[in-house]
Amino acid sequence: MLFESERSGDGLTLRLRGGWCIDNLREIESSLAQLNEQGRHVKLDFSGIETLDLSGAWLLRNWLERAKHAGGRFEVVGERPAHFAFLDELLEHKAAQPGEPAPGATSLRDAVVWIGRGAVQQGIQTRDAVGFFGRIAATMLRSMRSAHHLRLPSVVRHIYETGIQAIPIVSLIAFLISVIVAYLGAQQLQTFGAEIFTVDLVAISVLREMGVLLTSIIVAGRSGSAFAAEIGVMRLNDEIDALQSMGVDFYEVLVVPRLIGLVIALPLLTIIADAMGLAGGALLSSLLLDIQLSQFIPRVQDALAPTTFWAGLIKAPVFAMLIALVGTYRGMQVRDSSRELGRLTTLAVVQSIFLVIFADAIFAVVFVELDF
């Protein structure tokens, strides 16, 4: 305890002692709680306090004021503690500005306000999104017309960063996944003695679906997040405002080059993924099924319709646009805080992967209907 009580002839004296400083916060609190129980007419002696810092003085003073308010009578023996004068001055000269009223209990009114605010926010967001895509379309058109507006060096940089640098990981994953598919497929097909169809399985699934889908998902994780984070940090640093103040269209220098870069890079990555997938299939076939390369290649050519390759590749630019648009859009939405940056970067990746898969589903239905 940070005090001791002493009963003498004319009443109770509370002698405070020890360290009334922020290091003993818990002890101060419990001591103050116990002081409350000591009665209402007491003498306080502060002289035994060894160390007192402003926090301790503040808590002590607040307690004293509250106790006085509640009808306690205190007589201070000896000197008032240090810092009390400072606090007196503080409270006197810097009278508390009225704080805003604490939010009351939730009521029906709050619920209506909440829903209304949410609806308006959604409306604004939708409008912003439409505006964003419209601006991009307009900027794209302008970029197509003149080389200056195209920002070629920037486009090339993004092709390098989103495409060339992604080649190792995309190749590796395409290779491994097709090995897995071939391996599991071969196990099933062998029971029918139809292991040669493993080749068909690998070739069609890789070229039509898996090559492009896997590549897009990897790129969404790699580049979608990078787009959102890069643009988001630029927003936090007011760099976007700086660009705008110079009359530089940031859609033109930041958004469109990323979009064009990715639209070029993703199909090329898809072709590499397709090739690596087929290589994986070929390797497994020769090791496990004894189907040599000289057999594998003609079998692939038989299995594929002329459109199979294109049915996969044609989706790549569309997926690229989805990834780039979502990434840059979410980056542009970053405001004010580092938490926003994290939230929107996450959102960019999640949404672009979702949209890619959703679009892939639509493609699948359309291609089946078209017999493509």
Partner: protein, 256 residues
């Protein structure tokens, strides 16, 4: 609080070099208890490096830095922690945590070190806000909702969270309008007087220097020159002469 005349901070033969570039070459500095020491110097003179070294964020190439008699350059990280607990810092751009409210920013160090009840936390937060002259409802705001002057005050409130005896202020008035800057100077003087804080202030602002500091340390030629305000103005070094007697300086002095 004992008023011993032992320096709070004592820097001896401090050398900092990065590659071939020598930033400090034998810097000596004593900060006495209860004084406000201004640190000035041209861009690139190593003010920030000196600050980071004194904060223990960066180990010097050689030399020693004693805070309250203990050499922080030789300390382990856990020992350093007990020193860090003794001082408060405000950074140039506030460095408030942008995802936390002002109140949460102030409470963060308290929560980190002590086990406090919510009521005590709230009460101590209110005290810090009052101390720096912020309205109590500013506690619920996010840093992005504050003006530049309020950010500096909130940062000061956070620096004061643990009742430090020693305060480092890095460019406290940079980027403020003259009225806010003067208000901040007044605040620093008020807190210094009321709490007997020891304050080390890095500043470019001559007005702030004249208004608040009792002694001035000037970083020139990789060394440091420390003197009273009057003394340093008479120092013949060309940079110091230019700093204190150039056209901008004359205007500032005329105003005081």
């Amino acid at each position: 609080m004992s008023e011993s005349r032992q320096p709070v901070i004592s820097v001896r033969n401090l050398v900092n070099r990065f590659g071939k570039q020598v930033v400090h070459d034998g810097v000596n500095l004593d900060v006495m208890p209860g004084e406000v020491l201004g640190v000035v110097g041209g861009s690139g003179s190593g003010k920030s490096v000196l600050l980071r070294t004194m904060l223990g964020l960066q180990r010097p190439s050689s030399g020693e830095v004693r805070i309250e008699g203990r050499d922080i350059t030789q300390m382990s990280d856990s020992e350093l922690l007990s020193v860090k607990r003794r001082y408060g810092v405000t950074f140039q751009h506030g460095a408030l945590f942008s995802s936390l409210t002002v109140a949460e920013n102030i409470q963060l160090p308290i929560r980190e070190y002590f086990d406090a009840s919510p009521e005590a936390l709230e009460s101590l937060t209110e005290l810090r806000l009052r101390m720096v002259g912020l309205p109590v409802d500013a506690g619920g705001k996010l840093p992005s909702q504050l003006s530049g002057g309020m950010v500096k005050r909130a940062a000061l409130a956070r620096a004061l969270a643990l009742d430090p005896a020693l305060l480092f202020l890095d460019e406290p008035t940079a980027g403020l309008d003259p009225i806010s800057a003067a208000g901040f100077d007044e605040l620093v003087t008020y807190l210094h007087r009321g709490l007997k804080l020891t304050i080390v202030m890095i500043t470019h602002d001559l007005d702030t220097l004249l208004a608040t500091c009792s002694r001035v340390a000037v970083l020139v030629d990789r060394k440091i020159v420390v003197d009273t305000l009057d003394g340093i103005m008479k120092n013949p070094h060309p940079w110091i002469q230019e700093y204190f007697h150039g056209p901008r300086a004359r205007a500032a002095q005329a105003a005081v």
